[in-house]
C-alpha cells in the first residue's frame, strides 16, 4: 500500500512540476486515461445508488466522458468506508465520489479520521426533498391533526425511517423538537422499505423523499401532510410547506460529487465540465421535475462553503438530538 501511495505522490508531484513550468492548465487539457471510479457512499439499490447509476447512464448515453465511469458501492458504516477509501486515494485523478448527507454526519458521529474539508469539491447536482407522509386510510389531513394524533398516542406513535443517525432520523428529531412531541422511531433498511411499511399499516408516518412514495401516492395509498422545503413542490401543489404553516423546518438531502484531496486542478475542471453538461441534459432535467428534486447546481469554492456550513448545522442538530435522548 505504501508503495502505491508514494508512487501516486510522485506522480502528483511530477504533474504539478510540469504544471509550474508549462502554461497553467485549462479545462480540456486533461482527459482520463483509464476508467474513472465513481464511489457511491451507499449500498446497491438505495436512492443514492440509483441516482449515481442514472448519472452514469446519462454520461454514457450522451458521451460526456472519454472513459467509462464505473460505479463502486462502498456503503459500509453509513459511508465511513467510502470516506476512508477516498482519503487513501489522495492525488488520484481517476476517482470521484457520489455523496449524500452522511458525508457530514458520519464523520461527526464517529471518529473515523476523515476531515471532509480536505476533499476537493466537484459539483452539487441536486437537493432532494423531504415530505411528511401518512397512510391514506388515516384520518390525518393536516399538520395540526398530525401533532394532535402523536400527542394522543402517548409516545407510541410509530415513525418509520432509515437507520438511526441518518437523514430521516434527523428530520424526525427536528419534528419532535419543534412540536414538543415524542415518537417511537423505527429504523428500516431503505426508503422503499419504509414506504411499504407505511402503506401496509405497520408504521404510522414517515418522512420519505417524494421519489420513494410517488408510486403509492399516485395509487392513492399515501397522503402528504407537509413538505420540508422552502417552497411548495410542483408535484404536490396542494401540500403546504412547514414554513407556510409557521414552522421553520427546512431540510434537504444534497446529491453531490467530490474528489480526493490533491486532485490535479485540470482533472477537477474536466469533471466539473462533465457534470455541467450532465446538468444541462434533457434526461436530467425531466428526471428532477418528475421526482421533485431541486436541481441546484453548484461547484468549486461555493460548494465547499456550502459543505462546511451544512456540517456545522448538522453538528448542532446531532448534539441537540443527543441531549434529547
Amino acid at each position: 500500500m505504501t508503495n502505491k501511495f508514494t508512487r501516486r505522490v510522485a506522480m502528483a508531484l511530477a504533474a504539478s512540476a510540469a504544471l509550474m513550468t508549462a502554461a497553467p492548465a485549462v479545462a480540456g487539457d486533461w482527459k482520463p486515461q483509464k476508467p474513472v471510479e465513481m464511489v457511491i457512499m451507499a449500498g446497491q439499490g438505495g436512492g443514492a445508488d440509483r441516482l449515481a447509476r442514472l448519472f452514469q447512464s446519462i454520461i454514457q448515453k450522451e458521451n460526456l466522458a472519454s472513459m467509462p465511469i464505473l460505479p463502486v458501492n462502498k456503503g459500509g458504516g453509513s459511508g465511513a468506508e467510502a470516506l476512508r477509501y477516498l482519503k487513501d486515494k489522495e492525488g488520484d485523478n481517476h476517482v470521484i465520489m457520489a455523496t449524500l448527507n452522511s458525508y457530514y454526519t458520519t464523520p461527526l458521529r464517529t471518529d473515523i479520521g476523515v476531515n471532509i474539508e480536505e476533499f476537493t469539491p466537484v459539483a452539487r447536482m441536486a437537493l432532494d426533498t423531504f415530505v411528511l407522509w401518512v397512510n391514506a386510510d388515516s384520518e390525518i389531513e393536516t399538520l395540526d391533526d398530525f401533532v394532535a394524533a402523536v400527542k394522543a398516542s402517548g409516545g407510541e406513535w410509530k415513525m418509520g425511517g432509515t437507520g438511526t443517525g441518518q437523514e430521516d432520523s434527523l428530520v424526525t428529531a427536528m419534528l419532535e423538537k419543534e412540536f414538543d412531541i415524542k415518537v417511537t422511531y423505527v429504523p428500516f433498511k431503505g426508503g422503499g422499505d419504509v414506504a411499504k411499511n407505511l402503506v401496509g399499516g405497520h408504521i404510522d408516518s414517515t418522512v420519505n423523499n417524494p421519489s420513494e412514495q410517488l408510486g403509492f401516492y399516485n395509487a392513492g395509498k399515501s397522503r402528504p401532510i407537509a413538505t420540508f422545503t422552502p417552497e411548495r413542490l410542483a408535484a404536490f401543489p396542494d401540500t403546504p410547506t412547514m414554513t407556510e404553516l409557521g414552522h421553520s423546518l427546512v431540510y434537504d438531502m444534497q446529491r453531490s460529487f467530490v474528489a480526493p484531496k490533491g486532485m490535479d486542478p485540470a482533472a477537477v475542471a474536466y469533471y466539473t465540465t462533465m457534470f455541467e453538461k450532465l446538468n444541462d441534459s434533457e434526461e436530467w432535467q425531466t428526471y428532477t421535475q418528475e421526482k421533485s428534486l431541486n436541481p441546484d447546481f453548484l461547484t468549486g469554492d461555493d460548494l465547499q462553503a456550502y459543505f462546511l456550513d451544512e456540517r456545522s448545522k448538522h453538528a448542532d442538530l446531532l448534539s441537540s438530538m443527543n441531549e434529547g435522548s
Binding site: 502505491k4 486515461q33 483509464k34 417511537t184 422511531y185
Partner: protein
C-alpha cells in the same frame, strides 16, 4: 486427533471472548437505547453461547466421551506440507496483487501451482499462464467493467484502456 479437537475448541472460546469484548462497546442488555435488545446484545449473547458450547466440546474431549473417532492423526506430515505450501502460495499471491498487479501475481501463482506443485509439462503450464490473464482481462475488465488491481503495472494498461473502452 484429540489434541486438534481440543485446540480448535480453545480457539473458538478465545474467539468468542474476543467477539464479546467487541460487542460490549454497545449496550448488550434489554431495553438499551430503544425498546428490545441493544446493539451489542446479539453478538454478545451468541458469542456467550458459543463459548459455553465450545467449553462443552472441550470437557467432553478431556473426559474421553467424544463422539469423535480418535483414530489416526489430524495431519499426516505430507498432507500438512501440501496444505501449508498452498496456503503460503495464496498468501504471497494476494500480498503481491495490489503491489505488482493481478496480471503478474496470478500467472506466477499458476506457474507455481502447475509446474512446481502439480508437476505438469511446460506446454500446459505456459498456455494456461498466458491464456488465463487474457481471459480475465476481457471477461472482467472489458466486458463486466470490473477493474482488477494493477499496482506498478498500471502504466502498461493505459494503451489497452484507450483501445478497449
Amino acid at each position: 486427533m484429540l489434541l486438534a479437537d481440543r485446540m480448535i475448541a480453545v480457539f473458538i472460546m478465545v474467539l468468542s471472548v474476543y467477539f464479546m469484548w467487541h460487542a460490549i462497546a454497545l449496550p448488550i442488555g434489554w431495553n438499551g437505547m430503544t425498546g428490545g435488545p441493544g446493539g451489542g446484545a446479539f453478538p454478545f449473547w451468541l458469542s456467550a453461547i458459543m463459548f459455553v458450547c465450545a467449553g462443552g466440546v472441550l470437557t467432553r474431549s478431556i473426559r474421553g466421551k467424544s463422539s469423535y473417532s480418535g483414530a489416526g492423526t489430524f495431519f499426516d506430515p505430507e498432507t500438512l506440507s501440501w496444505v501449508i505450501s498452498v496456503t503460503v502460495a495464496l498468501v504471497v499471491t494476494i500480498a503481491l496483487m495490489p503491489w505488482a498487479g493481478t496480471y503478474i501475481a496470478l500467472p506466477l501463482f499458476m506457474f507455481w501451482y502447475l509446474k512446481i506443485f502439480g508437476k505438469h509439462g511446460w506446454v500446459l503450464t505456459a498456455s494456461l499462464c498466458l491464456t488465463t490473464p487474457v481471459f480475465l482481462f476481457f471477461f472482467f475488465e472489458v466486458t463486466l467493467k470490473i477493474l482488477l488491481p494493477k499496482g506498478l503495472t498500471e502504466p502498461f494498461f493505459i494503451p489497452l484502456y484507450a483501445r478497449f473502452f
